[in-house]
Symmetry: C2
Subunit: 230 residues, 2 copies
């Protein structure tokens, strides 16, 4: 049975590799920063995880997940995202509140509990932030999405997810009166500073790249990001 800490390491490695544009390995310093600990601490732990067969690693090398490490990590992600969904769907929490609570709930191990929760929620495919929920086998299908910042002038998009999950960002999205599923069209892009004018709900608004780079979209007509010929 893995400790909270070990699970958080695996989850962090997943975020920095599998979930980050198909990079397959990550350095100790980056991992340390992501986990909010010092590199020295990660050095130790990563050796421990290697001894347990959860990561591939050798001195001065990069870290990646083994098959088993990935499975265990994905199950943490599964629990996290199912609890987030529960908190929003059943207890009425806002999408900017669920992450923090899920950080605790994700460490409750019972497979039976989590599979029943899944069922209770009608086997959701996505969490409140639009992120895919891994299945009970730890498999995940991440649909291809692009960021709003990649959008083209005049085209219409549907918001499917957000990259940044911080309460600050999510509350800003709330204030803009936008949510997952909403449609926005790109009016114009300013090449000087990457600011963008977008149109939604009968209004034009200017957003910074900090916003548009953190919003995932697909074509509002064909629901695709790649290979859209609309």
């Amino acid at each position: 049975m893995l400790s909270f800490t070990e699970e958080n390491y695996l989850k962090s490695i997943i975020q920095l590799t599998i979930f980050d544009d198909d990079i397959t390995e990550v350095g100790v310093n980056k991992l340390a920063e992501n986990l909010g600990v010092k590199p020295a601490t990660v050095s130790d732990m990563v050796r421990k995880l290697k001894d347990k067969g959860l990561v591939n690693y050798q001195r001065y090398g990069k870290v990646s997940l083994t098959k088993e490490g990935q499975l265990k990590g994905m199950l943490v992600v599964r629990r996290h995202r199912l609890w987030e969904t529960f908190l929003q769907e059943k207890l009425g929490f806002n999408w900017d509140e669920v992450h923090e609570l899920a950080e605790e709930l994700e460490h409750i191990h019972s497979k039976k509990l989590i599979d029943r929760l899944d069922n209770f929620l009608d086997n959701p495919s996505f969490d409140p932030h639009g992120d895919a929920i891994p299945n009970a086998q730890g498999e995940i299908i991440i649909p291809y999405r692009k960021t709003l910042s990649e959008g083209e002038d005049g085209k219409s998009y549907k918001i499917v997810a957000v990259k940044d999950n911080s309460p600050e960002f999510l509350k800003y999205v709330n204030r803009l009166n936008l949510a997952i599923g909403d449609k926005v069209s790109v009016v114009s892009k300013e090449s000087f500073d990457q600011s963008m004018t977008i149109h939604f709900k009968d209004e034009n608004k200017v957003v910074t790249p900090k916003f548009s780079e953190n919003v995932f979209v697909v074509c509002s007509h064909c629901n695709k990001a790649k290979e859209c010929k609309c």
Copy 2:
């Protein structure tokens, strides 16, 4: 913020004092046994809890809860019993499975979460084992109950709770085909070994004191344990 361990100590002290026939203090050895650790460990921790103002204690003395310790402990009990209720009511777990899971869930602190859970469950008064659920202020009303072993010949009772919460005991109750809310009448008591013949669902069955001492009942007519004149 209290650690898991500290919370477990407070909960344990509650169980051994407030919930155990109004005894008000408990010794280090008993506490150690209840927590599954050695007395030396408890000696240390109890001093720490005293320094934090959560227990009354002095060297070689007994341990009891301060006002604050009792409040904090009762909130753990509240969380425990609400999660047990959730697991049974919403996720369809059996009453013999919920305790173990609640042991983990009870340590998730968010007040907002637990109050919303309470609301989601329609503010239940009792958990799956018939135990009262403390309110958000840590107050609890424990109705007066007697054990089936105290029952009188020929009288009819309603099962309101169980004392032993172990899966073994609860599964035995299941096999007897009994549950909270069921009516049983006492046919006869054997003074030699305290065995009891009880009648329910058109059947007579003999039960040992190990059973009858762990089942709480009230009069099936007036719903009282004390002052019943039926």
